[in-house]
């Protein structure tokens, strides 16, 4: 198995991925930023509550949440995906100092999954109203469907 800066790598349909633990996450991204990955094009998360048995390389322990960061190198035209395993309630370091553009993305992850980011400058909800309960994209959050109502027509 190949290691990239000490982290196991993987391949998903021909796309390069690297797996990092929470402790390795920030140092790894720092090194990758020095390697020329100068843009963080996307940051999101996945809740693997109902799908725990996913394929992961050796030495990576599956946890409930996974933080997915897509880095882009504008000079080499390469993409790299960093996947970080997180327990429920565990917080991740913010990438704000490296890539200021992740501010809104991290707020979205916080809003939708309740994953807190340490050192984030302004960690508030972004999409839902401020007084909303719960984090909608968690798998144990209901879709919130209401039954379609048909009114009797009085004519």
């Amino acid at each position: 198995m190949d290691l990239l800066h000490g982290c196991p790598t993987g391949d998903s349909r021909g796309q390069a991925t690297v797996f990092a633990s929470v402790e390795q996450y920030l140092p790894l991204v720092k090194k990758l930023a020095d390697d020329g990955y100068n843009m963080c094009s996307d940051l999101t998360a996945v809740d693997y509550l109902t799908h725990p048995g996913r394929a992961l390389p050796e030495g990576v322990e599956a946890k409930r949440f996974e933080l997915v960061v897509n880095l882009l190198s504008l000079d080499d035209r390469k993409r790299l995906r960093v996947r970080v395993q997180l327990e429920d309630g565990q917080s991740a370091p913010s990438l704000f100092d490296l890539y200021p553009g992740t501010e809104a993305m991290e707020r979205e992850v916080f809003d939708m999954y309740g994953i807190a980011f340490t050192n984030h400058p302004d960690l508030t909800r972004i999409l839902m109203p401020e007084d909303w309960d719960g984090h909608p994209l968690r798998k144990d959050y209901e879709l919130g469907q209401i039954p379609v109502q048909f009114k009797q027509v009085n004519s």
Binding site: L127, M128, P129, W132, P136, Y141, E142, L143, G144, Q145, I146, P147, V148, Q149
Partner: protein
């Protein structure tokens, strides 16, 4: 000595100008229907079609409605164009309350009318839970033709005056409270007709 004497002297040929007679109430309704200015409450996809209705090809000014007012205080019709989220609902109600009476609401598109395909936590399932709706325009998004038809329908309703009567009977405003429909314990069998 004026019009009456002219008519008495010379019959109808003695009239110098054209004139019409009508009830004042009808005149007011007629003029209301023909110069109802919409508030541009564009939310989502439907707003684009609403703007297309205002543009050259569909030309909403044929109905005296080309003046999309940005300020709700100058508008008569609120066209709720698009999905209304839980975060937007209080804002929508506030804008509605700022509009002057008489005011009307068109719910444009299925998302505004019933939540449409987005039956989930984020979308208000029908804007009629927030403001009283007079005309619902179907479609996702409704084509400009559909919107024009909705507007025409509303104009017809304004002219008859039915809408305002109904609203004053129900105490004005949208004190509509929608509760979840009671789910019967036993499923009710659907009876098919027989010949």
């Amino acid at each position: 000595m004026g019009l009456l004497q002219d008519v008495l002297d010379e019959g109808f040929s003695g009239i110098q100008h054209n004139f019409i007679t009508a009830k004042l109430e009808d005149l007011v309704r007629w003029s209301r229907a023909r110069s109802s200015w919409p508030a541009s409450f564009g939310l989502a996809c439907c707003a684009i079609e609403m703007m297309a209705t205002g543009a050259a090809h569909y030309d909403i000014s044929r109905f005296g409605m080309e003046v999309f007012r940005a300020s709700p205080r100058q508008a008569d019709i609120m066209i709720v164009a698009g999905r209304v989220s839980q975060k937007m609902a209080p804002v929508l109600r506030q804008v509605y309350d700022q509009m002057m009476e008489p005011k009307w609401v068109i719910s444009m598109g299925v998302c505004a009318s019933s939540g449409g395909m987005f039956n989930n936590y984020a979308i208000v399932q029908g804007v009629d839970q927030v403001v009283p709706v007079d005309v619902y325009a179907p479609g996702c998004p409704p084509t400009p033709e559909t919107l024009i038809h909705a507007i025409e329908t509303l104009h017809g309703l304004i002219e008859t005056g039915e809408l305002l009567k109904r609203r004053s009977a129900s105490g004005s405003g949208a004190n509509v409270h929608v509760e979840a429909a009671p789910v019967p314990a036993q499923p009710v069998p659907v009876m098919l007709g027989t010949r």
